[in-house]
Amino acid sequence: MSTLHTIAKSPTSNLLESCRQLLGQNENLLFIEDGVYYASREDLLATIPGKRKLYALREDILARGIQGKITDRIELVSMHKFVELCCEHKKIINWF
């Protein structure tokens, strides 16, 4: 029952860096929209300690054709799972 952060812009936005400044222990991340490009950037994700769960919205990944480039740490999720993640986390912080 911790916090879910969503990130909706590409790495050019530096939103992950901003998010990381406020990211607590055991808080999880979901990449959506242009944010899913982060899921293909192992170099940038390396700054997020491993015990945090990293999710990315499948439909946004497929739209952009990056399904073959996703790093192992990412779990692809459906819109249904997105809703479920919102229920499982008490607080949601949206970065856009």
Binding site: S18, Q21, L22, K91, I93
Partner: protein, 120 residues
């Protein structure tokens, strides 16, 4: 009405977009409805705190003036992120209002204690 702790994170520079004003309007509304309000300036949002703003020549309201009224609305917990001030070569002498400068860890615990986080 239930009383909750709202934390507003204002990350946008003033004037270039309406985001800074939007965040402020929402915080004023939370204060009017007697919620507990924290206001955190982060990223380019710290530029809102600069003294000597005067937006007359770009025909806009001067945002800095509105920030000076935060405490009139009962918003007394006003913070700015230390790292983001430093990155922009700003120190507390440059700032218009009494804001508390926070490190990332202090900001994290502020967020952790909030019920709602509005992040603009």
């Amino acid at each position: 009405m239930k009383k909750q702790t709202f934390t507003f994170i204002s990350r946008a520079a003033p004037y270039g977009s309406n985001r800074a004003q939007l965040c402020l309007d929402a915080a004023f509304a939370a204060a009017v409805f007697e919620q507990k309000v924290n206001y955190l300036f982060m990223g380019d949002g710290v530029y809102q705190l600069l003294a000597d703003q005067d937006a007359e020549d770009i025909e806009t309201k001067t945002l800095g003036r509105a920030l000076e009224t935060l405490d009139l609305y009962g918003i007394e917990n006003v913070y700015a992120l230390e790292a983001d001030l430093k990155e922009r070569n700003l120190s507390d002498k440059d700032l218009l209002a009494r804001v508390e400068i926070l490190g990332n860890d202090a900001a994290k615990s502020l967020i952790a204690k909030s019920d709602r986080v509005i992040n603009l």
